[in-house]
């Protein structure tokens, strides 16, 4: 089977909530990249990546997060990552993602975080 993956994007006020559903690998990462690019092109710099249904991520998907984060933060936005399942969390931790990204419990917490600290403090 080709890797099962879909993204649904909705909005809470000025925040884009991207629900990642399935597996992000080298096959599906380009679709993830396009979806983020589409938000930026539309002028949305505040993005929540809701990972509750993300069952797998490889470096191709991690690379998408990394390739956009500087540009987004430079323009005053951020990517908040939330609802990560333990398996995916383990992958994030191997690379030290928690030092770079704001990773929070769920969508409400991510919204709250945008209100309190729009960009992750070092």
């Amino acid at each position: 089977m080709p890797t099962p993956f879909r993204i649904d994007t909705s909005r809470i006020d000025d925040i884009s909530v991207m629900v990642l559903d399935g597996q992000v690998d080298a096959h599906t990462a380009p679709r993830f990249e396009e979806a983020i690019q589409a938000e930026l092109t539309a002028g949305h710099q505040r993005i929540i990546a809701d990972c509750a249904k993300l069952t797998y991520i490889s470096s191709a998907g991690l690379g998408v997060f990394m390739s956009f984060i500087e540009e987004i933060r430079e323009s005053g936005g951020d990517i908040k990552i939330c609802s990560v399942i333990p398996k995916v969390q383990a992958t994030f931790e191997i690379l030290g993602f928690q030092d770079i990204f704001d990773i929070v419990a769920d969508v409400p917490a991510a919204v709250q975080r945008f209100r309190e600290s729009p960009v992750k403090e070092a």
Partner: protein, 142 residues
């Protein structure tokens, strides 16, 4: 389980569309080998990274080429070999930048080899010029 070595082999065209199948294959082997959930997850990711590298770097997305994954295990160790017949490379020359350096340099690559080394117990690359390249990965069982 007896002490006899179990052998598994999967060959697929070099298309990222086959990474999901490769992951199902190694997960099935890992479970049968007796790995716990966390180690099965590590194996799955390491082999995916190794195969994605072959597709991207060794074969540059030429789908007429083939990716070969061999797996053997006994009671103690699971041994995976990912084979390609591409140009080969020198893993010691792959820079291991820190994450924030990579981001500052607007580079998203260079994570695959790092993950593989972090995930597996032993990693060894054999470059046999003009013939084939083999990435050997070992995971100890318990």
């Amino acid at each position: 389980m007896t002490d006899i070595e179990r052998k598994f082999l999967l060959t697929v065209p070099s298309s990222t569309a086959n990474l999901a199948l490769i992951r199902e294959f190694v997960v099935a082997v890992g479970v049968q080998a007796g790995l716990g959930d966390a180690d099965v997850g590590k194996l799955e990711l390491a082999v995916d990274e190794a195969c994605a590298n072959v597709m991207e770097h060794a074969y540059e997305h030429d789908e007429t080429k083939e990716v070969v994954v061999r797996a053997t295990f006994d009671r103690e160790v699971l041994h995976i070999i990912v084979e390609d017949t591409g140009r080969g490379f020198d893993p010691s020359r792959v820079p291991q930048e820190k994450l924030d350096r990579l981001i500052a340099a607007k580079q998203s690559g260079g994570l695959g080899m790092r993950l593989i080394k972090a995930l597996m117990d032993e990693v060894r690359y054999e470059f046999i010029p003009g013939q084939k390249n083999e990435l050997h990965m070992l995971k100890r069982i318990r």
